[in-house]
Point group: D2
Chain length 123, copies 4
């Protein structure tokens, strides 16, 4: 998935605000689902994925007008959660990487992961 950096993503330091990279990764995760007819959140069944923890490294900076590419793959999974590794590239150079643990909740309780969902993130 490719994302353009706009004004709203930058801050007075002239670079992308640090938490925005985490939003970009969420967009990439969600886009994988949307483009496959799935959704990260379903209001009727009150189910969706929530973040349990995340850890990220800032390697280089992005700025206004940059086009960033985001790659996502699953590194491990349990019955109700999985760990995703997401990496952001700028002109083929890695600028940001994140490991994020997501838990699937149904009516606020952990529930069995949807296999279709996981397949989308396997290489």
């Amino acid at each position: 998935m490719k994302i353009r950096v706009y004004f709203e993503d930058t801050d007075i330091g002239g670079i992308v605000y640090h938490s925005k990279y985490i939003n970009f990764c969420e967009r990439a995760r969600s886009e994988v689902l949307f483009s496959n007819g799935l959704t990260p959140f379903d209001k009727e069944s009150n189910s969706g994925y929530i973040v349990k923890d995340l850890s990220c490294q800032y390697i280089n900076m992005a700025t206004l007008g940059d086009i960033l590419e985001i790659k996502s793959k699953i590194v491990s999974k349990s019955r109700v959660s999985f760990v995703l590794e997401q990496t952001i590239y700028k002109e083929n150079s890695k600028i940001f990487s994140m490991e994020i643990t997501l838990v699937y909740l149904k009516n606020s309780k952990p529930a069995k992961l949807d296999e279709r969902f996981l397949e989308l993130f396997y290489e």
Copy 2:
């Protein structure tokens, strides 16, 4: 209500991103309600205020670290909606003004405004 300008509010131009002033005004409206035991959105009764239109003037700029003051008053009202004038000041000088029309919805339909709500915004 006073609001500090943080990194997330600024953009690469070194000033507050234009739509952020509109967020600041929403915070100010909501804070008036919260601090009086009311809420701008009630999940159980599925009711809340939505924006119908708004119009704003950008008079001067704010930047990182500035403390802004927001004043809100009702300029007109009907049975289901009202027009609020919100002004942002920086060191007693007006930098932004907005007129916004809000409609009260209950289960997605316009409903009679709560009088307690309106009283809070009268001078």
Copy 3:
């Protein structure tokens, strides 16, 4: 320009947060420039476009996963500023429209508009 609605764009009401539509329009304006080798802000010459005023109507709602289309055209212009009309469509139905006045600043002073810029927004 097409924009997908992600989690970050929605609020607890289940719809797109009102000021986010204004961000979407900024993305659309900027994308027209970027994709033509221009930029809405140049750090070296300290020049760019700032918002003088805007006025918008909220016609219908968008929510998570929606794909929105944004159209932009100039409605009037002076030597240093211009008025742009931007409209957001969801499945060919208009859900938001905005008139926005932008002023071109060079070293914080109004400066003559770049004709190449204006041509991009004429139909």
Copy 4:
């Protein structure tokens, strides 16, 4: 530092969007500086603090209207960087914790940390 959760901070899931907690922590760090006459970013000397890495745990959720309290303390430091532990509480219960490494940059190069800055975050 206390922060109120507003509409813009929530998402369609009815809770605070995950990266917003990281913004709240940035506000808290910056506020410590602002309220002591310092700044996290100085345009003239082109110096400021950038994020090198961060790691966070989501323990419980916050929602619209909640008042959150943020505590920050230094856990380690080197000549040019330091690690800050930031914790968010809701009604005295911990809902989020983060460890973040910040590097002090002057003209894009790591520079010696300001001792006054560090003192503000020691308990």
